[in-house]
């Protein structure tokens, strides 16, 4: 006599429902925009135009998308292992640190084709190790991963600041950042690559990391649903007792899930540090680790969904910057509000409307069946 389980056809569940949620979020955001005395339609036009209306805008949008894909995948892999990794922020920071250390040490010695893979590897390993500590604490010591990963975000930020201030800052440098990397440690930007083929593109921070992000999506899809390791990981995630029964060691799977999750988050360092900044800076992750949670929730923890959700958030970020630029009195905070509403409606309250659709659908199906 349990409550009626809601089972919706797939096209409603993964198609209509997210769109509906997005629409509600936009409506509410529109109402807020109206309330502060702006035209919602104008704001939306500027937003879309800024994000998608020019090649340069698209470049920026896809650059943001790249970062969100990494952090979204990181959250998704952990969720499939039954874990809530809120530490993407810290893991990305430490991943960037890994990139910087490798780039500063070997930048002058190695050519780009050798160095860039090493940078990626370093970002992944640093992120992985940083995530492995909370994983170990959860699996073998019983401390809760949500708490520890939050704490590790602060630790990572502090560690980064400490290293920058005391060790990595060039002598006499006034700003808190490392020395510039050698050219071979820079992930090639798209407009540079295009220029080599004689195509003129306006400059944007979009770089080869996007390809890396898409490859990561393919890998995660294969890993979760096709590999033996993913099978074990998902069993632990959805039925830990059954996994134990099947001879799978749940503790080890916690380590694997978090390790992979941390490695994916760490890759943000490739996009930001090697791809854009060319030096290690403070706070370069800028909340992308947390946005990854919303991205993963909205993308139903699936790589394809995560790509779409990342695109959406990329548009919002880039478009939001343009809106606050173009419309006087329309502050950056307003854009954050809109993003917050989307996270609220499409993420946290993603299934609130599901019973309504279930009712409508069953009415429709009954009529058809009768």
């Amino acid at each position: 006599m349990s409550g009626q389980a809601i089972s919706l056809p797939r096209w409603i569940d993964v198609g209509l429902l997210p769109l509906w949620n997005l629409m509600i979020a936009m409506l509410v955001a529109g109402a807020v925009v109206l309330a502060i005395g702006h035209s919602p339609l104008q704001a939306l036009t500027v937003l879309l135009n800024g994000a998608l209306g020019s090649v340069r805008g698209i470049g920026y949008t896809l650059y943001y998308t790249t970062t969100f894909i990494f952090t979204g995948l990181a959250v998704a892999v952990a969720i499939h292992g039954g874990l809530f990794n809120i530490g993407g922020e810290g893991q990305a920071t430490v991943g960037g640190l890994g990139v910087a250390l490798m780039a500063l040490a070997l930048g002058p010695l190695l050519p780009a084709p050798l160095l860039l893979p090493l940078l990626v590897l370093s970002a992944a390993v640093f992120g992985m190790l940083w995530a492995a500590i909370p994983a170990y604490l959860q699996a073998w010591r019983g401390s809760h991963i949500v708490i520890t990963t939050i704490m590790f975000n602060f630790l990572a930020a502090s560690l980064n600041a400490y290293l920058l201030v005391n060790w990595l800052r060039p002598k006499g440098g006034m700003s808190v950042e490392s020395a510039e990397f050698a050219e071979s440690a820079r992930m090639p930007a798209l407009h540079e690559l295009a220029a080599r083929f004689g195509i003129e593109l306006p400059s944007s921070p979009l770089n080869l990391s996007l390809v890396l992000a898409l490859l990561a999506c393919v890998f995660v899809a294969w890993f979760l649903w096709k590999s033996r390791a993913g099978y074990a990981l998902r069993s632990v995630g959805s039925a830990p007792r059954a996994a134990h029964y099947a001879g799978i060691n749940p503790k080890l799977q916690v380590l694997i899930a978090m390790g992979l999750s941390g490695a994916l988050a760490g890759m943000v360092g490739v996009n930001e540090i090697s791809g854009v900044q060319g030096k290690l800076t403070l706070d370069f992750v800028a909340g992308a680790g947390f946005t990854g949670i919303a991205v993963s929730l909205m993308g139903r923890n699936h790589p394809v969904g995560i790509i779409l959700a990342s695109l959406l958030f990329g548009v919002l970020y880039q478009g939001g910057v343009e809106v606050s630029f173009e419309l006087p009195g329309f502050s950056r905070e307003m854009v954050v509000t809109a993003q917050g509403l989307i996270v609220l409606f499409a993420g946290a309250m993603a299934t609130v409307s599901a019973p309504m659709f279930a009712k409508l659908y069953s009415k429709f199906a009954n009529k058809k069946g009768a």
């Binding site: 006599m1 009626q4 089972s7 294969w222 096709k226 590999s227 033996r228 390791a229 099978y231 074990a232 998902r234 069993s235 959805s238 039925a239 007792r241 059954a242 996994a243 134990h244 029964y245 099947a246 001879g247 069953s362 199906a365 009954n366 069946g369």
Partner: protein, 518 residues
């Protein structure tokens, strides 16, 4: 279908008229009519999914019928929620008790029905009322004891008392004996007869036909959402009812087993002791031996160490002390068997908790069907899994064990209990194990499927497998086992050959606190 109105009674206590209810495409109730005479015990039997629970949920206000109406004591009523049901004098005792473990019995009865704002005077008032009620009905419970400290038999009495305190004149009991010892069942039935004598109307949902025959005045059989028949108890028999439930003849009784000659010991355990976190011995010096070609039944009331025994023997849990020999390999507490190793040594395990342990409910059937055997080379291609082979094998398992629907892509949670169990058995038996540990193989399983599963277990035994059967259904043990071990409070309180077993002997051993080792 026709509704047979009880003869002799003027106004039925409850009358359900042409009730229909559908969930999506599933027609849970189709034009169900049922009439219960006041002061009688009315049995409601049927397989899982026959619509009994839905019908009672409609009567108790959990669901609203799509069509049809309800009459209570002759008056047409609308019951929108359980509060209204209670106000009409309908009480329900759920199969899984609705009690707060950390409160006393008195507080549990009072919860939600406090007569006043302040607790002290209220509880004094309720206590007085309850004491009279207990006197009248013979439902004795320790009012000040915490629920978590009481045996299930007493908790059941508490649940009934709770319903009566709220003024129930019509009592719905959902599978009340599922968790009771035979002695507790007898006690419960005495109480129910007494309540009946006091004028209470009782609706008894059950799948134990013997109980229906001994307690009920009339019985309604449901199948596939419809009423098949309603008869007075004198006009029917257990066999008749079983046939009506399943729609064909079933035989759940004992069959002459081919007791294999030349038995060899497949598994032996010595002095297994397992202590819980608080130092309580969950298993206490348990020793046992499993031979090829026999089924050893473990009888006992749920929660007396049988579950732990299965977990220890299957390697899911290491004992605090003790040793075990599986085939030629010996294990001691510090280097205990692991589930993966157990499978290598041809020990298969059908766990008690099908949903949490035996399958991953989020997985489709073809992923659940290789759980535990997912490392076998056949299912793998390098680091990838071979989905084609997995699907093929699952389809073969579904075919061999008649799993319905034959859909390898259907979610594991979407199969009925019996079909889930058949898939798990197909997986475990399919490996031709030397030892099979099986816990509650037919819990929540339809009669038709029970017969099938029993036959599969017998066939496995006849093929020389050593089977350990843990079941809280005595009938099941009596129907299958060649030898019976009885457990109580983590101890073995007796070991009997099947010819020495009857319900009374086993019941006494199940209830005995002292280890009366046979």
């Amino acid at each position: 279908m026709t509704a047979v109105v009880q003869a002799g009674a003027a106004v039925p206590a409850v009358r359900l008229c042409e009730i229909s209810k559908r969930f999506g495409a599933v027609k849970a109730n189709q034009g169900v009519s049922l009439s219960v005479a006041p002061g009688t015990v009315h049995g409601l039997v049927g397989e899982n999914g026959a619509g009994k629970s839905t019908l009672m949920a409609i009567l108790y206000g959990y669901y609203q019928a799509d069509a049809g109406h309800i009459e209570v004591n002759g008056a047409k009523v609308a019951i929108a929620n359980s509060h209204q049901a209670i106000a009409l004098g309908i009480g329900m005792v759920h199969q899984h008790f609705m009690l707060v473990d950390t409160l006393s019995c008195l507080d549990n009865v009072m919860l939600g029905a406090e007569p006043g704002f302040f607790l002290k005077p209220s509880s004094r008032k309720v206590r007085a009322q309850l004491e009279t009620l207990m006197q009248d009905t013979g439902l004795h419970v320790h009012l000040d004891a915490l629920v978590s400290e009481l045996p299930v038999g007493e908790l059941q009495r508490l649940e009934i008392l709770k319903a009566l305190y709220r003024g129930a004149r019509i009592l719905i009991l959902d599978e009340p004996t599922a968790v009771l010892t035979p002695q507790e069942t007898v006690q419960l039935f005495e109480t129910l007869r007494r309540l009946k004598a006091l004028g209470t109307t009782i609706i008894l949902i059950t799948h134990k036909l013997k109980e229906v025959m001994s307690l009920c005045d009339a019985v309604t059989v449901m199948r596939a959402g419809q009423v098949v028949q309603t008869t007075g108890i004198a006009d029917t028999s257990a066999e008749d009812l079983a046939q009506a439930m399943v729609g064909r003849k079933v035989n759940l009784g004992r069959k002459a087993g081919a007791q294999a000659a030349g038995q060899q010991t497949r598994l032996s355990a010595q002095n297994l002791t397992l202590r819980g976190a608080n130092g309580v011995a969950l298993l206490n010096e348990v020793s046992l031996r499993l031979n090829s070609g026999e089924i050893v039944g473990v009888a006992g009331v749920s929660g007396n160490g049988q579950s732990e025994l299965l977990e220890v023997l299957s390697g899911m849990l290491a004992p605090t002390s003790g040793s075990m020999q599986l085939g030629d390999t010996k294990f001691v507490q510090d280097a205990w068997l692991k589930p993966g190793r157990a499978r290598e040594l041809k020990l298969a395990h059908v766990p008690e908790d099908r949903h949490a342990c035996a399958m991953v409910l989020d997985f489709p059937a073809w992923e659940t069907a290789v759980l535990g055997y997912h490392l076998q080379p056949a299912y793998n291609q390098g680091p990838s899994m071979n989905h084609a082979v997995m699907r093929e094998q699952t389809a073969a398992m579904q075919e061999r064990f008649d799993v319905r629907p034959r859909d390898v892509n259907l979610g594991s949670s979407k199969f009925s209990g019996g079909n889930q169990q058949k898939l798990v058995l197909a997986r475990e038996i399919g490996q031709a194990p030397a030892v099979l540990l099986v816990g509650q193989p037919t819990r929540g399983v339809d009669i038709g499927a029970i017969e099938f599963i029993h036959n599969q277990l017998r066939a496995l035994r006849d093929a020389g497998c050593a089977v350990l059967l843990v079941s809280s259904e005595l009938d099941e043990i009596l129907a299958l086992a060649d030898r019976v071990i009885v457990m109580n409070s983590g101890r073995v309180t007796g070991e009997l050959g099947i010819e020495e077993c009857d319900e009374k002997t086993l019941g006494l051993l199940m209830a005995s606190d002292k280890a009366a080792r046979a």
